[in-house]
Amino acid sequence: MSYDYDDDRTLRERIEANPRPALVWLAGLAVLLALELGRVARAIVYIGSLTRGFLGGAAGVPGTVADNVAGSLGGAAGIVGAAITALLLLAVAAVLIKWLFVPVSLVNRLGLDTGEGRDEIIERGLITVALAVVAALVVFTPVGAALEAAIGWLTDALESAGTIQTLTQRDTIPNQGYRTPGGGWEGTFLGLSPAVAWAIRVFVIYAYSFVVAAWLWKGYEVFREHYREADWTPRDDSINRFRTHYWGIFGLAMVFAFVVMAIFAPSLGPVTAEANLYSPYEYEFQYLEGGELQTVTQGDANLASRSQGGSDNVGPLSYDQYDRWHPAGTNQDGKDLFTFLMYGARTSLVIGLTSIGLATAIASALSMITAYYKGLVDVLTVVASDTIISIPAFLLILLLNVLFAEADHPIMDIYNGGFLLALILAGVYWPGLWRSIRGPSLQVASEEWVDAAKSYGQSPGMTMRKHMSPYILTYIMIYASLMLGAVIIVTAALSFLGLGISPPTPEWGRAVSEGRQYISGSSWHISTIPGIMIVFVVTGFNALGDGIRDAIDPESEAGDASADAAATGGGA
């Protein structure tokens, strides 16, 4: 049958056979990326430098060990120690590489079958040797220098690309300018007023983000229509249900707005955080006073534009006396509240994603392991999670936070305590997540397809990944989105109490806290606007969670009591 041949093609072959839709889509994507080439290049350079730093650190370990051992046991021992450490590191890397990148059994392919269950070890050994050869080539031969040169050249290229102006950059549509004596504006976009210029920039940023999101969605549709082998998947039904779930779409819109805020924070504010929040006395600007151009630092200007109730107030959507535009007014220190909020979104998102990501990883791994093996590992996990749950979560977070802060632990310095907070939150919230998905995971572990996998010799790890995780991940997505709201509230609450993220890193809760004494006066906006934003974002995440739940599980809409109870049990 010729049909057979047609049907048995890889994705690449299918695209080659009908390249038009894919090319059109790719062209669109290229245009969108070209508009933001500079930003993309900077992001790549940044990720590259992080990776390089990590690899460099790992590569430095054998040297450190060599120095330490050589100091106490002599030079030869140092070399041996370094070699052993290097091998250990490579072995760890081999396990990771085997897991991530090598889907086939090398032993079977090379015919090295020994039959004694040593395959895994031999396999890892082979990869370790291969890695060692590569590492030795890099370190001891000119290959290393060539590689270094190639990376350096690439970095340079990317860095020069990073200087290209992008569509959503501040400089493209500048809003910081001064009034001219003639009544116009100098330095702003097309001579428009700062308010209008800023509004245009915000609009452009959101429009661009929306187009990118829509285009990615379009890509999925192109794939679905032209290249996917299956003409229907269970996911299609879920997506169709979500499309008519308006509460869920509202949530998605809120979350989208929030994420865009976090990503484009530097461009969204009328002024940068560096200039207005972190080092206000190092940045100067010009303004018109009495027909003369004056120069003043941001810090000095802030002092004169504080919002402290009464007549000292710069409210939302107003200019201060230096003709700076404040879309959300200023705070009690005269800093721009809108800029503060945009960067605060970034803080919240980073902490939320880090902590929930970690908690989700722990919870899903444990839930699958406990559901699959049961027995002792299950009992231990129950005891551990019950122990953590039995302590009031907020108290525990406070306690740990104060403990690390008082001890002045170096981990406090990362992201002004944000990283520590994320770790603490992950440690406190994984038991709740694990509990919420325990039912579904026990259920899926008792499905016959798990038995079937065992009956033809599938390994436990692969069984969990292939046959259990798809079911658990959909559930955990619901609870994670609900809990992300809880994390944002807890972070804000901690800042409100003066703990957690320390100043000057912007955090919404701190704004609520600092503005609360002015709430009854003219400076009501300092507390109110961040408070409302917290409400909207948290509601948005909850609505999204509801939407995902109803989309995945059509029965829950019909008022299935157990599904409802399960879905609401995991909230804050």
Partner: protein, 445 residues
């Protein structure tokens, strides 16, 4: 089916002795390994039988008799508590790791529920291909090709490769499950009630498919079922299971036509007779199957057997009275095992009625409308005294001394019955007793 002579080799007389699976005193217990779990559930309690190459061995019995556990133990989905399962001479209960994984290619299982045995999130192709991926057979392209051919073989279409299980009916889903078991070209397949979840009209199609596949690939089946007519149709030999034991095992036609074991008798009498004028008598078993955590001593069927051996001195008692005595013993056994709560104990101390009821109440209920002769009355009264003292064990002892017989005292042997090598697990096949059929005729007319 083809008529070529080659196809008939499986039924040649010489092939009869070609034993593929030997099961020896196999036991599978659940629980019981923990400190607080109490005695284990004896799901499979010492079974031995052979499966010959190319045959279909049926395994029948009521729900909970351990037939599914036996099937799952044979393919090593449950680990055996004791005994051996020899596949071509290798004890597979001892295998582990890579050897177990290699062996699994030879024996597969088809599950009962086609809704639960297929992962809904994978396409049919992925489901059927997974065993090939696990054992790293051929190149990906070859695997896909092989899966398509298999889909063809089990009566699906090749283009179903990229469909999802949702899109199929129950019968089609079971075909997918069957295709998956065939991917590794096994010799032996356990069919765990493969058609009981399907519509009757679809059952026949799947049964025919299984028969065709057996012919085509020379498969050996263990067919687990509770539908006796299906078993009669497809199986070469049948094993009848009750409470973890095999009660009777023999060639299908002979076993159905002339059952030897009392349990087989009662099981077969449960098949509905389509002829309304038929005068065949249904044997009603009293009570429920015993708890496999506390199986009866002696013969597993002794608590409900319609032809239980009775002591000679009570041979003249009528059946109604025997039923009452059996009920009483059953009640006392339950009481003995039941945990008394503190409240129960206090109520008993205060002379108040606990939820267990008094022995007088029980006697009233059980013996209310039967006449009890004095020689029977005596042990009953003695037992009642023990129960009043809270000692059910002694009461049961008294009743056993009076009314018990070899059935409860010791486990029977397997007797060879009939013309072929049929085996039955019943004391009544011994020379000193009358045969089950004879007694059954007498007691149940």
């Amino acid at each position: 089916m083809s008529q070529e002579p080659v196809e008939t080799t499986f039924t040649e007389p010489g092939a009869d002795e070609d034993v593929m699976v030997e099961v020896r005193d196999l036991r599978t217990y659940y629980g019981g390994d923990s400190m607080f779990g109490g005695p284990p559930v004896k799901a499979v309690d010492g079974v031995s039988f052979d499966i010959k190459r190319g045959e279909t061995l049926g395994l029948v019995g009521e729900s909970g008799c351990g037939k599914t556990t036996l099937g799952r133990t044979l393919v090593q989905l449950e680990s055996a508590t004791g005994g051996e399962v020899l596949f071509d001479g290798t004890d597979v209960t001892e295998l582990s790791g890579k050897q177990l994984k290699q062996w699994r290619r030879n024996s597969q299982i088809v599950f009962q529920d086609p809704d639960s045995s297929l992962n809904d999130r994978m396409t049919v192709g992925e489901i059927v291909r997974e065993p090939l991926d696990v054992h790293d057979v051929g190149t990906p392209r070859e695997r896909r090709q092989q899966v398509r051919e298999l889909l063809d073989t089990v009566g699906l279409q090749r283009e179903h490769y990229y469909r999802y299980p949702h899109q199929f009916s129950g019968g089609q889903r079971q075909r997918i499950g069957i295709a998956r078991t065939l991917t590794l070209e096994p010799d032996f397949i356990v069919l765990d009630e493969p058609v009981s979840a399907l519509d009757v009209s679809v059952q026949a199609e799947v049964i025919n498919l299984l028969e065709d596949l057996q012919e085509e690939f020379g498969l050996t089946y263990l067919f687990i079922a509770h539908d006796l007519s299906v078993v009669r149709h497809i199986c070469d030999r049948v094993a009848v299971m009750y409470l973890g034991n095999i009660m009777e095992l023999g060639p299908t036609e002979e076993l159905f036509a002339d059952p030897a074991n009392p349990y087989t008798h009662s099981l077969l009498s449960a098949i509905p007779e389509p002829d309304p004028t038929s005068d065949s008598d249904r044997i009603t078993l009293y009570g429920t199957p015993p708890n496999p955590r506390h199986p009866p001593s002696g013969c597993p069927f002794s608590t409900r057997c319609p032809v239980r051996i009775r002591p000679d001195e009570f041979a003249h008692l009528d059946d109604e009275l025997w039923t009452a005595i059996n009920t009483l013993r059953e009640v006392l056994r339950e009481r003995e095992r039941a945990d008394r709560t503190t409240t129960d104990r206090i109520r008993e101390l205060l002379g108040r009625e606990s939820r267990f009821g008094t022995i007088d109440g029980i006697y009233e209920e059980v013996f209310g409308d039967v006449t009890v002769p004095p020689e029977v009355e005596e042990p009953l009264d003695e037992a009642a005294d023990h129960v009043r003292a809270g000692d059910e064990a002694s009461a049961l002892e008294v009743l056993f001394e009076a009314f018990g017989a070899v059935c409860e005292a010791e486990a029977p042997d397997y007797y060879t019955v009939g013309d072929t090598d049929r085996e039955s697990f019943c004391h009544r096949h011994g020379d000193e007793y009358r045969s089950p059929a004879e007694v059954l005729d007498e007691r149940h007319g």
